[in-house]
Assembly symmetry: C3
Homo-oligomer: 356 residues x 3
């Protein structure tokens, strides 16, 4: 039960895999201005080339070290705001007033791709970057789904967020007024490995819906007061993505497998991108398969979800502060932590393979 | 005169004794919510058990390291706000949803006791904690006295506050508009050891009262314009408590020993609790033996004293910043510093005994 | 072209010469209160003696380490605001209540002199301080010139400011709306050594004046729409002073050498004083030889110049942050960087001579 233990300390080896796609930004964040953001410890600047394609180079002008993100984009090239050194999408110096630039060293460029409203970057070895390794996002490519989401910057190790999302018993305590309910604690949790995915599942048959799900039932045109079967299926994939199938169906109609017409079901989308060993970018959202044309409902859900995840943010940052103060302490891994424990093992194994 | 010198540096050995009672909070601070506070370098959480008794455990959930002070109290037990691990007043795991907790490690509990409106904690070896070692507080247990006070968090080594309180010549400079007067500087100071107490004393016969004492004379029903005999008797006790008998009596009536009816006398109460090597909790107050039923006077005194001690705070934090920048510098110990010097010797001796 | 490279790291040897005069404050900053300011890593307090003369001593009371700048000046001596130790202009203890002070150690005093509205301090070996080494300031001693200026605290290595001022191509990018214009980039830059001075010069004949210079032309009673010859002559002198002759003359009238009546010319005055390895005090101003009695114009220029230099501040602080994050990176020295490169060589040579 408490056989395993983990170190809470910040290791000197990397705490994240580098050879992987991470979400760096949403498409709508990147307009005509360059965007500076640190991903996996690398300060990067993102901008759009002449054709609108995304580029990512290190946020450090090869000339005098000014951040290139202070500059501007001109005809698809990034101009340093200090002395005008211009780099192309490949990071190479493309011009500078009164200066030949052929021999200048290039700024490091990172593989980057835009897909389904997200900008994905590969912070590690560019030679290994492969678009085929992008995760499947069926909910984003199917008109039968609607999506809304947001971004939080959270001052904690990204793995604490993985732990958080792979064990939803915390909903009862952290989110008592929205999605928490006593029955979550009482339902047995089932953890399994499905290939390279870790899956934790809880089913709560015959319960009353908590406030967030009452709202969703109403949005789906169902009775918010009905007794429902509720489910949570959390799927972790490398490097640090958690997709959570959640929903409620009118009781006795099949639960997770109930027909669309009698349930409100959705996928909590979590792309978790390390910034530093003790901070990360949290791209959260919800994809739903009901009332997909109801834009007002999308806004309502986004607002509710944003409030819920801000509660996680508050707890996680305090947890990190406590762990940083006590790097010697070992944490417990109880039954409910099995999902996070297995996810961390996959992460550790991938890091170990990278550092050889 | 300047024969002694002291190191201003922050040592690597402890700067405080651990096996002692320290004030952690006032009784009124601890209501139905848990209270997180670091005492002598130990993050602690204080809460009240079922019968209202005080408990103190480390502020670190044994499960995943979240601060327990983020949680809540339920039926006299402390529930972690993250996943619901519940600990009792003894720090032992008392329950958790879906989890047997008998084998879980306990959170460290600290000896704690409530006495005379203060919550006292023993941060060191629990086996040595002894209620008999609590300091006497006669002014708190005698209806002939009234008390009011407050709490400041001050970003300096607690010993700089001890120095400050054991040499009141600073009143002339730091508190020029309230309790300072030139005669303090001019009066000879007498320092003595009385058992385990360091005592510094100044008498200023035949002076005019400064503004704070004019207010006190008036509060005591005496002539604020009268010529008075003024006294200051500072008593340091281990680990870091300074009680200062201060007062004014109508001139020639016996000074410190004058009858109650012709004097306004009180005790400045200072409980000084280390937080970190460069910060402390300062519980200050004033106990008085005159006009004890005048609650408005208590408020007036608290307000005046709070303003005065905020002046100390400003100087002490700047002093600490200067000392931290120059850890190599040695300070002088002049005549006026004898009280602080002797107090630090007692502290150093106690620490040396503890660390063996 | 890119043959040279420089370390961006913060060295452990000093980054500034100590045996030199630096501007510590303007005369108007130092009134009847003491002024605390760190110069070349030395916390100092400046005050005026009985005759109004300037004194500078370390900002650390020899008694208990409180900053002397918290105190006050009484009859030309500095009184510590904590216990009243008084020091004279030479740093020696001049008195203390109830205490003989002859044997007390002195606070270190620094050579200091007031000249032309600036307070100059010599942070190094006092024996080498020589007033003859103050820089000439002809514009300050000639009624044919007017002066206005200001002070910025900038969180970057003072040498980044030297680089900035010795290469004005950045005006096109950083100051696009005031003094920048494309022709700066296009004009060849000429760098030369004139004794112990580094000089970079650009001439831009037959251009339209950018907004700041239109304002200056108008202030000088000339046609702001006229075609002009523009010039920039930057002169670096040790330890870290840059005087920049700038101006515009009606086109074809001799440019820099044109008669006063057909030009608006001025000197940008830059006294750059290290505070810490990554911060400095930037005393900036403009001396002009036209419309010298127009106080409103002085204000207008000061305001415009202050806005321009705040743009430099923003870029330089971000550059410093980037360099601090990447101390291993080497920077390029392109054609346009020749002025800064030569200035840094003079600085490095002077430091090397000092540290032996």
């Amino acid at each position: 039960m408490t056989a395993l233990s983990q170190r809470a300390s910040l290791p000197s080896t990397p705490t994240w895999p580098s050879n992987a796609w991470y979400v760096a930004a949403t498409s709508e964040e990147l307009t005509t201005q360059p965007l500076g953001r640190t991903i996996c410890g690398e300060p990067m600047v993102f901008f759009r080339g002449q054709a609108g394609q995304v580029a990512a180079v290190e946020d450090f002008c090869p000339h005098r070290g000014a951040p290139l993100s202070l500059g501007f984009v001109r005809e698809g090239q990034l101009v340093c705001g200090y002395h005008g050194l211009t780099v192309g999408c490949d990071g190479r110096a493309a011009g500078m007033p009164g200066q030949r630039t052929e021999a200048l060293p290039a700024a490091r460029a990172f593989p980057v791709v835009e897909r389904n409203g997200f900008i994905w970057v590969w912070p590690g070895d560019a030679a290994q970057a492969d678009i085929a390794k992008l995760p499947p996002m069926p909910w984003a490519e199917n008109p039968g789904w609607a999506y809304g989401g947001g971004l939080y910057h959270i001052a904690c190790d990204y793995r604490l967020m993985v732990d958080n999302l792979m064990d939803l018993t915390h909903e009862t305590y952290v989110h008592a007024t929205s999605i928490g309910q006593r029955e979550i604690d009482e339902a047995p949790v089932n953890t399994s490995l499905e290939g390279q995915q870790v899956v934790t599942r809880r089913d709560m048959p015959g319960v009353k819906a908590p406030p967030f799900w009452r709202m969703a039932l109403k949005g789906a045109g169902l009775d918010e007061d009905a007794v429902v079967d509720r489910w949570q299926i959390c799927r972790f994939s490398l490097p640090s993505q958690v997709m959570i199938e959640v929903g409620v169906a009118l009781a006795g109609r099949g639960g997770y497998d109930a027909p669309l017409a009698v349930k409100a079901s959705s996928i909590v989308v979590d792309f978790i991108t390390p910034e530093t060993p003790t901070s990360h970018w949290y791209f959260w959202g919800m994809a739903r398969a009901f009332a997909v044309d109801d834009a007002a409902l999308t806004d309502t859900i986004r607002e509710g979800q944003g409030k819920i995840f801000s509660e996680d943010l508050a707890v996680l940052e305090r947890q990190q502060a406590n762990l940083s103060r006590r790097p010697d302490r070992r944490l417990l891994t109880l039954n409910i932590d099995a999902g996070g424990t297995h996810a961390r093992r996959l992460i550790d194994r991938m890091i170990a393979q990278e550092v050889g």
